[in-house]
Structure formats: C-alpha cells, structure tokens
C-alpha cells in the first residue's frame, strides 16, 4: 500500500495539533510496548504515538492523517491476542488509554457512559458499587472497554448474559476522515436503518475509532454460588456440558479446566487452589437474588454431574471461596504464558454440543505433532481457548509444528460448523484462517464495508478481511 512516508514535518504538525509535547512520542521516545500486543510475536514500531485526551483530538489527528495519507492504528491497553493493535504499516498509533473517565451513570435508563480507555476492572467495580452489573467478563481485567468493544469480547458469563455487543447501546465514533458521529444511543429499541453500532462492535479498529460508549447495565444479582466439579477424566467433564445445557438451568458460566493449568496458576499466583483430587474440572457459576433460588437450579445440575461420574461437587458460596477459584481461573492465560518460552493461541468457537469433540480433538494433537497444547475455556458457549506452546523447540520446528496444529484445529472447527474466533478477533494473525473459513462473497461484502467507511484505507490497514 502506498502511504506517505512519515517525516519530521508530520511529527511537528501533530505536535502542534496536540500542543502537549509529553503526549506525542516520536522515534526513540516510543516505548517498546507500542510495537506489539499481549501475544508479542507480531512486531512493528509506529512512527509516532499520540496519547489522546478527547474525541476532538482524535478527530484532528485522524483528519491530518486522512489529508496526508498516513496510516493510523488505534490502541487500548494492548492486551489483544491477534496483533490487531500492531501498526504493521507504521504511521500513527493513537493511544486511547488516557481517555479513561466514567462520564455518567444513568440509573433511570440503566446505562453507563464511558470513555474507551476505562479499564474493565474499573468499570465493573464502579457499577457494582451502585448495585448495578456489567455482565461481560473476559479474563483480562486490565483490558480497556474500547478494546473489548472492538473485539466484541465475550468472557465467562456469556452463557447466561451474552457478549459485549449485547451491552453496547450507543457509540461515539471518529470516522477515518475525522468526522465525529454517534451510532445508537440510550434507546432500548432501535430499528432505524442498518445497525451501525453493531458493525463497529467487533470491527477491531478498522472502521472508526470509538471515543465514547453508552453501555447497558443490569441490576446486580445479590448472590452468586460457584460449583467446582471434579471428574475422573476430561472426557467425562466435557461430555456433561451438553446435558447441563439441555437441563434448561442457566448457569452464568460453564468453564472447564485441567490440573496442569491449575498448577501453573498456583505457581503464577503463589496461592493454592482449594482442591487437587482430580485432573479435570468443570466450574459452574449460578447467580440470582437468593440462595434458595440458586439452590433450586444447582440441585438439578448436581444430579446430572453425579450421574455422569463426577467425583464430588464442591460449593463456593462465600466471597473468599469464590475468589480462591475465580482468581486462579482469571490467571490461566498469564500463567500458561509464564510456563513456556513462546505461545500462540486458537480461539475457535463451535456449536455448544460440539465442544467436547473439539476439546478432545485438540488434546490428541499433542501426541500427533509432539507439541504441548494447553486448553481451557468456556465449555458452556462452545468457545475453546487452546494455547500451543513452543517450550524448547527450535524456531524452525516450532513454526512447522505450530502451522500443522493450527491448520488441523481450524479445519476441525470448520467441519463442526464453527467460526475462527469466538472473542479474540482476527486482527493480523488469524487472517489466513478467516480467509479459509468464510465464503468469498462474504469477504467481498466485508471489504466493501471497509471501503465505505475508509475509502483511503488508512485506518488500521491490513487487518481482518484485507
């Protein structure tokens, strides 16, 4: 692609737009962090980083880039896993993380209005202090809400509550030409033309830059009880999941986890997990307004699990007990990362009744390709997270085996009518797999949408469908 080479003059112009030297980082002042995301193997430094404080600043920088044909990549806290925030064509990185104010809590409309740099953990803490609830709950709590919106993050409560998209009511967006528009709003219903805000959600910063979000809230459930259920084998555990779903009880989360990953988390956190009798667990969470209400649904599930060979059913009914389990669960990704030299991930999603097949398949690939694969994930919504680990393999061997294992997993997911990504997105890293997975007609429509938003192709180019 033919972009203007970013030079000293551009830097000076942008510095003039922002008029705060400390927030415009050029060349050697650019921290290494800006060259990659959480996964780290796709690397490229931008020419300049602009830490913005307002939609107006985003708009002015975007307009400058538009007029001068310079690529722009927006970025939150850089916790992404597919390279979406890596500026592969260099140019400008707009760092949104300083736009981090919670603007309004509207208790009459049950919405909260936030800037995109608010961290997920800040948001949930804030609304819960007001007895309200923002259900999307991805493991990475230091992600920004802007990043969550741009990947349509899912998380652990998706089984009952849905994903980020289900909680976005309205967005303020800076378009690639610099104009500021609003999509959606505080309205509950909206049939007014194409749903633009839904298009922005999950667009990975390729269509516009989100500068404000109106999010939908729910009343905070008063009580949550988790069940940690040890099974004799992973197969026993996973095969129970469709039966739980079929029983019409609705847990907020159904996760599966294995002993090895739990041990990694124990080491990573320096804290023991409350059980160690088994190699495979299901972790279920129920919420509601009273213990009685919750008990009624978990009695049924407990029976199902015991019939399927569960070794026991352990109950976490206090904050301390819930913490001892969920803190470990939340640390899995970091813990696995710390246990190896390099890793890559697969975030496929399959129909829920196929999740056991997918898990068992990826498990068997370990022996087939002689590579360590650790998986955990949202058994209840069919979203599998499998991490392929490099360990001591040579670069060459690693590339080879990684390609084979990845290829097989995505192929299997397609066979099971699944999708390439459940919640991490496509970014740069998963483009080849999206290309194989979607029909050419669909990809063509996606490219058309991209063109309609960004005719000069300057906003996060080379990502998703390009």
């Amino acid at each position: 692609m033919n972009y203007k080479a970013f030079d000293e003059k551009d830097y000076l112009n942008i510095r003039e737009i922002i008029s705060d030297d400390e927030r415009v980082l050029y060349r050697e002042r650019i921290n290494e962090d800006y060259s990659h995301d959480e996964l780290g193997d796709i690397k490229c430094y931008p020419d300049v980083v602009v830490q913005v404080l307002s939609a107006e600043e985003v708009s002015k920088v975007m307009k400058y880039a538009y007029e001068n044909n310079i690529p722009v990549t927006p970025r939150g806290s850089g916790t992404g896993l597919v390279g979406a925030a890596v500026p592969i064509y260099k140019g400008i990185v707009i760092d949104m993380s300083k736009m981090n104010r919670i603007l309004e809590l509207d208790e009459e409309n049950l919405t909260v209005t936030v800037e995109p740099g608010v961290l997920l953990m800040e948001l949930s803490k804030y609304v819960e202090e007001h007895d309200l609830f923002y259900p999307p709950d991805p493991g990475e709590k230091t992600a920004t809400i802007g990043g969550n919106i741009n990947t349509n993050a899912g998380g652990m409560r998706a089984v009952k509550y849905g994903v980020t998209r289900d909680f976005v009511r309205g967005l303020e967006v800076v378009l690639p030409n610099g104009s500021i528009v609003e999509f959606g709003g505080k309205v509950v219903k909206n049939s007014s033309g194409y749903s633009m805000k839904d298009l922005i959600v999950g667009s990975e910063g390729t269509l516009g830059i989100v500068t404000k979000a109106i999010l939908r809230l729910l009343p905070l459930p008063k009580k949550a009880i988790s069940l940690l259920i040890p099974f004799p084998t992973l197969e026993h555990a996973i095969r129970t999941v469709p039966l739980i779903i079929k029983s019409k009880t609705i847990p907020t989360a159904i996760e599966f986890m294995q002993r090895e990953t739990i041990i990694d988390a124990e080491e990573f956190l320096g804290k023991k997990f409350p059980d160690n009798q088994s190699d495979a667990y299901l972790l279920l969470k129920f919420d509601g307004n009273s213990v009685e209400e919750i008990q009624a649904s978990f009695d049924k599930v407990a029976d199902i699990c015991l019939e399927q060979g569960a070794l026991d059913i352990l109950v976490a009914d206090t904050d301390e007990r819930n913490d001892s389990i969920w803190k470990a669960r939340g640390a899995f990704l970091e813990a696995i990362k710390a246990s190896t030299t390099l890793m890559d991930e697969v975030d496929v999603v399959v129909p829920r009744n196929k999740v056991s097949e997918m898990v068992e398949f990826s498990h068997k690939l370990q022996d087939k390709f002689g590579i360590r694969i650790k998986s955990f994930g949202h058994a209840g919504d069919g979203n599998l997270h499998a991490y392929i680990l490099k360990d001591d393999l040579s670069d060459e061997e690693w590339e080879k085996r990684l390609d084979l294992a990845m290829g097989e997993m995505y192929k299997k997911a397609r066979e099971l009518n699944g999708q390439v990504s459940g919640e991490h997105g496509i970014g740069y890293a998963k483009k080849p797999y999206l290309n194989q997975s979607l029909a050419p007609e669909i990809l063509e429509i996606m490219r058309g949408i991209k063109k309609a938003f960004d005719p000069k192709n300057i906003l996060n180019p080379g990502k998703v469908c390009q």
Binding site: N100, K223, L306, L314, V315, D317, E320, S324
Partner: protein, 264 residues
C-alpha cells in the same frame, strides 16, 4: 497414632459491609446472610489434614443461637465428624471472657482431646483473644500465630509461629491449643455430596444446665466485665494529604495529583 481434635468455629455476618445504625448504634443484621468465620476455615482445614495424616476425629464446637447449626452443617460438609453447639439464652451477651469460659466448659463436655484449633480471630469481633483465654481456663499450653505445622510426635506438636519480624519454632505438649494463621493451608470447599449425606446427622446441643459449673454469674452478660457503651460507625475517612514546598513545586504537584485522581 490417633488425634482427637476440637475446632472452635463461629458464625459471622456474610459480608464485611455490615452497617451500624447511627441512631440506635446496633448492627443492621436484617437480611444479612451469615457464614463461618473465614479464619476458622483455616483451623478446620488444619484439623482435617492432621486427621487425614495421623487418623483420629475432628469435632467442631460453636457458641451461638440455634441458627449457628448452619455452620456446623457446613463443617460436616467439609469432613468434620461431630458437632456441638453451645446454645442457651443464658450465654447471650457474652464478651471475650464469658465466651472463653463458656467454650472451655463446653470443651470439657466434648470428651478427651489432644488438640484444640482456633482461627486467628473472627471477622466480627477481631479480638484474637478467645483462643488463648480458653487455654488458660482449661489449663493447657497455647500458641498463637501458627503458620506451619513442622512435625507431629506422640507427645507433642512442633509449630512455626509468625511473629511478624521473627519466626519462632515451638514444641508444645499435648493437650494444647493452637490459633492458626490465614493461609496455613488453603481451606477445602464444602462438598455437596457430603452435605446430602450429613443432612440428618446429629448436632449435639449443650445448654447451661448441661455444664458442670452452674454459677450463672460466669456466663453471658452476667459474666462479662466488658460493657459496651455505644457502637458507632467510624468517621468516614476522607483522604487528606499535607504538603509544604515552594509555590512552583506545589502547583506542579497539585496538577499531577488532580490529573492522577482524574479531576482534570
């Protein structure tokens, strides 16, 4: 060897967000759920581990109103063998001293024991005194701040005490009382299967009339030298910082602080 272990447990409010009514000075307990004192879980876990290694029995004992049976059921679901509830109107209003005395009397009714385990403190009273005072009444040695069991012998148990700046190792002769630290072992979760199995398991209730010492002056409010005058919520703790420096430095500092706190 077989160890007979008694674990002292207490029912406390389920949340640490219990408010005090500023007018009446009474804790607003309405609608607040209760749970086993989190520190006691470490004592119970320690007992269960010792039993698993050396054999024996684990008895739990609690003092409280009839609804405190709930935490004894919970202890059953974690693996306790027997449960005793000290419950009587005459025990009500007890301070640390009367509570310790009542518990020590209850323990005498619980049969032979080698070891009494207590949590470090409760989350509602926070005194950390009941354990050691009980040991005084029972005339047995006691060690607090136990963070690790070093070894268990026929005659004595060796433990590590966390004294903040030093670690002390003590060998204590049986029978004795230990108050354990948080994180000595990660407490297990209650088992739903055990909960079902022990649904109808007996809980021995001991009242005033069952105790040896029939002197009413030693129990409940009568036996409590501590008189609570007033309970009130602490003043809300707004953040305050005092700086002194040159104008320029202060302005800069203030600006940075306001920015950090997201006021500007």
């Amino acid at each position: 060897m077989n160890m007979n272990i008694i674990v002292c447990i207490k029912q406390v409010p389920g949340s640490n967000k219990v408010e005090v009514d500023p007018v009446t000075g009474v804790l607003k307990r309405d609608g607040i759920e209760s749970k086993m004192n989190p520190y006691d879980l470490y004592a119970l876990e320690t007992a269960l581990r010792l039993k698993e290694t050396y054999g024996g029995t684990v008895k739990v004992i609690s003092m409280g109103p009839p609804q405190a049976m709930q935490i004894i059921r919970e202890a059953y679901a974690m693996g306790a063998d027997e449960g005793i509830l000290l419950s009587d109107r005459k025990f009500a209003g007890a301070d640390v001293l009367a509570t310790s005395y009542t518990l020590s009397q209850g323990v005498r009714e619980a049969g032979e024991f080698d070891l009494i385990l207590c949590g470090k403190q409760t989350t509602d009273g926070d005194t950390a005194q009941v354990g050691p005072e009980m040991a005084e009444y029972l005339d047995i040695p006691s060690v607090s701040n136990v963070k690790r069991i070093v070894s268990v012998g026929e005659e004595a148990i060796t433990v590590e005490m966390d004294m903040t700046h030093t670690v002390e190792i003590a060998k204590v002769k049986f029978p004795c009382l230990l108050a354990v630290e948080k994180d000595i072992f990660m407490p297990r979760l209650p088992s739903y299967v055990k909960m079902r199995e022990t649904k109808d398991k007996e809980i021995k209730v001991i009242g005033f009339s069952n105790l040896k010492d029939q002197d009413e002056k030693k129990y409940g409010l009568n036996g409590s030298p501590t008189q609570v005058k007033r309970i009130f919520p602490p003043e809300s703790n707004s953040k305050r910082e005092l700086w002194s420096d040159s104008e320029e430095v202060l302005a800069d500092k203030l600006f940075k602080k306001l920015k950090e706190e997201k006021f500007i």
